[in-house]
């Protein structure tokens, strides 16, 4: 199965990279860009019987490794066969 996992810094955690990118946008004249947050997207290929099993495994994986729950939130965006 293929899955996509989105890991992002919690809203109250400063993201200096996103800030720098937003400033670069402004420097290029894109004043319409008000804020940018830089996140992580994992594309995972895994063996699982069904979507429920896959999501359970991914949830465990996020808690243990892919995300640091102190500073990051995660979401399994998509699971497809």
């Amino acid at each position: 199965m293929k899955a996509t996992v989105h890991v992002k810094l919690k809203r109250d955690v400063l993201d200096p990279q996103g800030k720098a990118i937003q400033r670069a946008c402004a420097a290029l004249g894109y004043d319409a860009v008000r804020d940018i947050r830089q996140d992580k997207l994992f594309e995972v290929e895994l063996d699982a019987h069904d979507e429920t099993a896959a999501r359970a495994l991914l949830d465990e994986l996020c808690q243990k490794l892919l995300a640091n729950p102190v500073i990051e939130d995660y979401r399994v965006v998509a699971v497809e066969a």
Binding site: D12, V13, L14, D15, P16, Q17, A20, L65, L66, N68, V70, I71
Partner: protein, 234 residues
């Protein structure tokens, strides 16, 4: 014997050994991250700075799962003294042996500079050679050193007196101007609740010889040596 854990990508392991052996006169040994157990005569464990596993995923996130870390956890749970500097601090946070996390520096730059640190607690095994409120000058060199803890955790750290070192000015004033990396409450070093595990971003092992800019690092590492000698032979 002081055990210095070597991860792939550690780069302050030998500096740490130099400080321990040549400056402070205590025996030490490198312990490879794939080892299943610490040497049985280890009296303290040091997690050095560097870029373990290339800082992949998050700093310290991979090293946390090195085989040796299970025994480091057992050692800490049994009350053994563990000191992590820089990447070692990041590993301790990722491993859950210390609370909070280290984020990208506020200004994005990698910072290599001397900083001043106020000793908030002189009653830990890592600071007992200092007077409370003493100001130490020790270098930092990191890109991800901004200490973060959510507000309730930060309040608990203050209440439990777990903040041991804070970035400050030369006069000891803790203010925004002396915060090099955007750390919450100018935190440079914390201990666990029990007080036997410390993590700090500054590098005491790089401040042990007058020739290279100062000896204040001896206060930290020397305190640990004293603490170990006080409870058993090193």
């Amino acid at each position: 014997m002081f055990a210095v854990v070597q991860f792939p990508g550690s780069n302050d392991d030998r500096d740490m050994r130099f400080a321990l052996e040549r400056v402070l006169g205590v025996p030490s040994r490198l312990v490879w991250h794939k080892d299943a157990a610490l040497p049985s005569d280890a009296k303290a464990v040091l997690l050095p700075g560097g870029f373990s596993y290339g800082d992949y995923l998050r700093c310290g996130a991979m090293a946390r799962f090195s085989p040796i870390m299970a025994d480091v956890r057992r050692f800490a749970d049994a009350g053994g003294r563990v000191l992590g500097t820089c990447n070692g601090f990041q590993v301790l946070c990722e491993a859950g042996l210390l609370p909070g996390a280290l984020l990208r520096n506020r200004g994005l730059h990698f910072i290599c500079d001397d900083v001043h640190l106020r000793v908030e607690r002189a009653d830990t095994p890592f600071t007992q050679r200092a007077e409370p409120g003493a100001v130490l000058r020790i270098p930092i060199k990191h890109g991800e050193g901004a200490y973060f803890a959510p507000p309730p955790l930060l309040a608990a750290l203050e209440q439990n007196r777990q903040v041991v070192l804070r970035y400050c000015g030369p006069d000891g004033a803790v203010d925004e101007a002396s915060n090099p990396n955007g750390s919450a409450a100018n935190i440079a070093g914390i201990v666990n609740e029990r007080g036997n595990v410390i993590g700090l971003m500054p590098h005491p092992e790089h401040a042990v010889e007058p020739l290279i800019g100062g000896v204040d690092g001896r206060v930290i590492l020397g305190s640990l040596v004293d603490a170990v000698r006080g409870s058993a032979s090193a």
